[in-house]
């Protein structure tokens, strides 16, 4: 080959930059956020299955308003549009999944506004917020509108036939349990007659049946007995609403009252495992959070079985799974280090259990995560690793 045929680089097209010159492929903030949205898909679908199209409506309204409010903030703050990073959509969806099914539409918008403005934009946007924005939105709503935010309704899905079948096995169950079962059976038949149309409740139902969440039940009157994973709640005359019983399977599948996204632990697990496999969340957070709650509940139950529910019921109730997989793992507001993540998760678990077992609120997930968010910088500072090869006690010697 002669010299003339060889093409040499055009030096005018060369770029000068500091190393490294390569970047990990497919790694960007929008991609992470889109994957989180994808991971929330099972929980969103489950919410629609459990609470009907009302859930879909809440999800759409909250997510769209969160994105719109962020765009508005960008405009007012004369920033570049940041909705492209999809973090506003994640915040909106997380908030939506944390709402009770029958909240009015305006509450969704107010909640999204507080989440985005007070939770994120006042600090300078994504990355600078000390608290989880979705939880900020939720806590504002919970404190300002306690009645609306604790208005729980029955799921629209009828009880599963397996449940009824297993109920038949309970020959020796207490009268209360039998009454409860009979009610459930009757209700299931009602629902079946209502058919699939039950799902199409777009608007707020005036006659939506109020029903306490399992946690509220436990708070009012503790679980009386557990047989074969069968949770029977006491029916006391002065607390007439405590007449529902849930199996652990119900708690797991999500066929229970609660915030729309938090009820189905199965769906949350699918999404959470997806995030774990992709390495987007640290396994330490859900494992230690749920583990701590389980241990404390188990101890409490062992000490006083009449007063406290068993560990399995405790961890499957309320928003613990949702919080542990999707809220406490929020990158911006949780510690950077692995050790820090463990401390953070254990702290969340302890605060959550304390609130649940001895506090005045039935649920403590929101408070526990927000409180630990406040401690995150401190945890980071305390758990910062020594550099590789650091001399022992070098700092003290200084």
């Amino acid at each position: 080959m002669s010299e003339t045929q060889v093409k040499l680089p055009d030096t005018n097209k060369l770029v000068i930059s500091s190393s490294p010159h390569i970047h990990e492929p497919n790694s960007s903030v929008p991609r992470i956020m889109k994957l989180v949205l994808l991971a929330l898909l099972p929980a969103s679908l489950a919410s629609i299955w459990v609470f009907g199209l009302r859930a879909l409506w809440l999800i759409l309204v909250t997510t769209v308003s969160a994105v719109a409010i962020e765009a508005l903030c960008n405009r007012v703050m004369k920033q570049k549009l940041t909705i492209g990073d999809c973090s506003a959509a994640v915040t909106g969806l997380l908030l939506a999944l944390n709402l009770p099914p029958m909240v009015p539409t305006w509450v969704c918008i107010v909640g999204a506004a507080f989440a985005i403005i007070l939770g994120k934009m006042v600090y300078g946007g994504l990355g600078y917020n000390p608290f989880n924005p979705a939880l900020v939105g939720r806590i504002v709503l919970l404190l300002a509108l306690p009645t609306i935010m604790t208005h729980w309704t029955k799921p629209v899905v009828p009880k599963t036939p397996t449940y009824v079948a297993s109920a038949k096995l309970e020959e020796n169950a207490s009268d209360a349990a039998k009454t409860a079962q009979a009610e459930v059976k009757k209700e299931a038949e009602d629902k079946k007659q209502g058919g699939f149309l039950q799902h199409f409740t777009w608007t707020r139902e005036a006659d939506a049946k109020t029903q306490a969440t399992p946690l509220a039940i436990q708070k009012q009157a503790p679980v009386q007995g557990v047989n074969k994973g069968y949770v029977v709640t006491s029916a006391t005359p002065n607390k007439p609403f405590i007449q529902t019983n849930y199996t652990c399977m119900d708690l797991f599948l999500g066929n229970i009252p609660g915030s729309i996204g938090e009820t189905s632990k199965l769906a949350i697990l699918i999404g959470g495992l997806f995030l774990l496999v992709l390495g987007l969340i640290r396994w330490q957070v859900p494992v230690f959070y749920i583990g701590t709650v389980a241990v404390i509940s188990a101890i409490a139950h062992a000490v006083s079985p009449e007063a406290y529910s068993p560990a399995l019921v405790e961890i499957l109730s309320g928003g613990l799974f949702f919080g542990a997989f999707f809220m406490a793992t929020d990158m911006v507001t949780s510690p950077l280090t692995k050790t820090g993540a463990i401390i953070f998760a254990i702290g969340c678990g302890v605060i959550n259990s304390v609130i649940r077992l001895w506090g005045s609120y039935p649920e403590g997930v929101t408070f526990s995560i927000l409180l630990m968010n406040a401690l995150t910088p401190l945890i980071d500072k305390c758990t910062a690793g020594r550099p590789f090869g650091a001399l022992p006690h070098k700092k003290e010697a200084k």
């Binding site: 080959m1 010299e3 045929q5 060889v6 093409k7 040499l8 680089p9 055009d10 030096t11 097209k13 060369l14 770029v15 000068i16 930059s17 500091s18 190393s19 490294p20 010159h21 390569i22 970047h23 990990e24 790694s27 960007s28 903030v29 991609r31 992470i32 990073d85 300078g124 946007g125 994504l126 990355g127 600078y128 987007l280 640290r282 990158m331 911006v332 507001t333 949780s334 510690p335 950077l336 280090t337 692995k338 993540a341 980071d380 910062a384 690793g385 020594r386 550099p387 590789f388 090869g389 650091a390 001399l391 070098k394």
Partner: protein
């Protein structure tokens, strides 16, 4: 296979290794009409010229002698006429003084230095030979090997660095396959100089042929081959020492603090040639690779060959590259001229096509912690990046910025595309300037003082970074 010490160092990344030229045998480059030989191809004082412009020199003849203890002599890559001392663009973009050697076409070699025996010759003779041959660290840092072989602390281990963890580069790999005996002879000479018994060769597990080759010669030369995990930056000195011996080089310390000396296999081959053949270091194996390169290949190039000539040897380019990198993609330097000369430490010339150009707008840190998980020095790059971004270099110092080895793993993994290692470099530069100023002030204060000297600048007085 000797996998006895596959220790995991903390963190690191595993980029696509891009080693397309690993099957390409080392080729001899033809003689070029001129060579641009820089006077400073090493860390430390530039070499002092001993020939005058217009003088005729032979291949391997001394052009410049070491300009100090931390320095290295420079030899002519061919026979011909020495031009006036001019300046040329170095790989880091700065102008460096250089000789221009105009070849006479005969390539007449000077009388080689007498051959030595790597095992039997006296350590002093061998050491002098390493110095006279102008050997420097050929893995990239170009630290004069003579200095490395003169530790002032007891040393019991010599580690040969055959890791070559930078994506794309295959020069050391080919050298280990094609010339293992010279490498091991050089290693034996180093061991004799240092008086050490333990000699290890660290090779990443993705080069099984090189491991097998070295293994077959291991007992003959009394070395142990360590198959190492494929993980960038496995070839970083501190990480390599930890992987092979389990020892941790203390913060701010040198390998000799833990009784180790690390030498690149390329340097060992050069030492081997200097000892066995009396040949000074004026050529090296360099990889010319990258997607735009027509024939990614390995070449034995003389010092002073230009990048343009080297790229032409590899068949030129099929498209205009976006970057020409001296070294590998993780730690190499981009060059803007084809006239940059090959130096003693040019392990590779990597070209990146326009589609491989990664230019990003960076975003705020989302604290995902990935940099933290991947930092081989167990630092907190996220925190360091934020402090340096805000010109709080005092805080960066408190967060151990000076321990950064600038491997670039943090920037590689950052989903916000933050230039973390670049931020940290800026912080390090500032901290070093400040420390030097403080040291100078302390020295001035210690000297008989005619009047009180100003204090060392306070952290708050740190100069603001230039406008972005």
């Amino acid at each position: 296979m000797s996998t006895f010490l596959q220790k995991f160092f903390y963190g690191g990344i595993h980029p696509d290794d891009r080693k397309v030229s690993k099957e390409s045998a080392i080729q001899e480059a033809p003689l070029f009409p001129t060579y641009t030989v820089p006077l400073s191809m090493h860390i430390g004082a530039p070499a002092k010229p001993v020939v005058k412009p217009g003088e005729t020199v032979l291949k391997g003849q001394l052009l410049a002698e070491a300009g100090g203890f931390v320095s290295a002599p420079i030899h002519s890559p061919t026979s011909g006429k020495v031009g006036p001392i001019a300046s040329c663009v170095g790989p880091m973009g700065n102008l460096i003084p250089c000789f221009t050697i105009t070849s006479d076409g005969n390539d007449t070699a000077a009388e080689p230095m007498p051959a030595l025996d790597p095992k039997e010759s006296s350590p002093a003779d061998l050491k002098k030979r390493v110095g006279d041959a102008g050997i420097v660290g050929m893995g990239g840092a170009s630290f004069p090997t003579l200095v490395k072989l003169s530790p002032n602390k007891p040393v019991d281990t010599l580690i040969l660095n055959g890791v070559e963890c930078e994506p794309g580069l295959t020069a050391d790999h080919r050298l280990m396959l094609e010339d293992p005996e010279t490498i091991l002879a050089g290693a034996t000479a180093c061991a004799t100089i240092l008086g050490v018994k333990n000699v290890y060769v660290g090779i990443e597990a993705n080069k099984p042929d090189a491991i097998a080759k070295m293994q077959s010669l291991a007992s003959k030369y009394g070395v142990q081959v360590c198959e190492l995990r494929v993980r960038y930056p496995q070839g970083a000195e501190k990480q390599l020492i930890y992987a092979v011996t389990g020892r941790k080089v203390p913060t701010g310390g040198l390998p000799m603090d833990v009784g180790c000396v690390v030498s690149n296999v390329g340097s060992c081959a050069a030492i081997g040639e200097a000892v066995l053949q009396g040949k000074p270091l004026y050529e090296r194996v360099t990889t010319v690779t990258g997607r735009p390169v027509v024939n990614p290949s390995n070449w034995r190039l003389r010092v002073g060959t230009t990048y343009g000539q080297a790229i032409a040897l590899a068949g030129g380019v099929s498209e205009d590259p976006a970057k020409i990198i001296s070294g590998g993609p993780m730690m190499g330097f981009t060059v803007y001229s084809l006239d940059v000369p090959i130096m003693k430490n040019t392990s590779g010339i990597l070209l990146l096509g326009p589609e491989e150009l990664h230019q990003f707008e960076y975003h705020p840190c989302i604290r995902c912690g990935r940099c933290n998980d991947h930092c081989p020095m167990q630092l907190m790059p996220a925190t360091l990046g934020t402090t340096a971004e805000n010109a709080r270099y005092d805080l960066a110092e408190a967060w151990n910025a000076t321990d950064c080895i600038e491997c670039g793993c943090c920037s590689y993994v950052c989903p916000s595309h933050r230039p973390l290692v670049q931020f940290i470099r800026r912080a390090k530069a500032d901290i070093m300037t400040r420390r030097r100023a403080a040291a100078a002030a302390a020295k001035a204060a210690a000297a008989p003082k005619p009047e009180p000297k100003p204090e060392a600048p306070k952290p708050a007085d740190a100069p603001k970074p230039e406008a972005k």
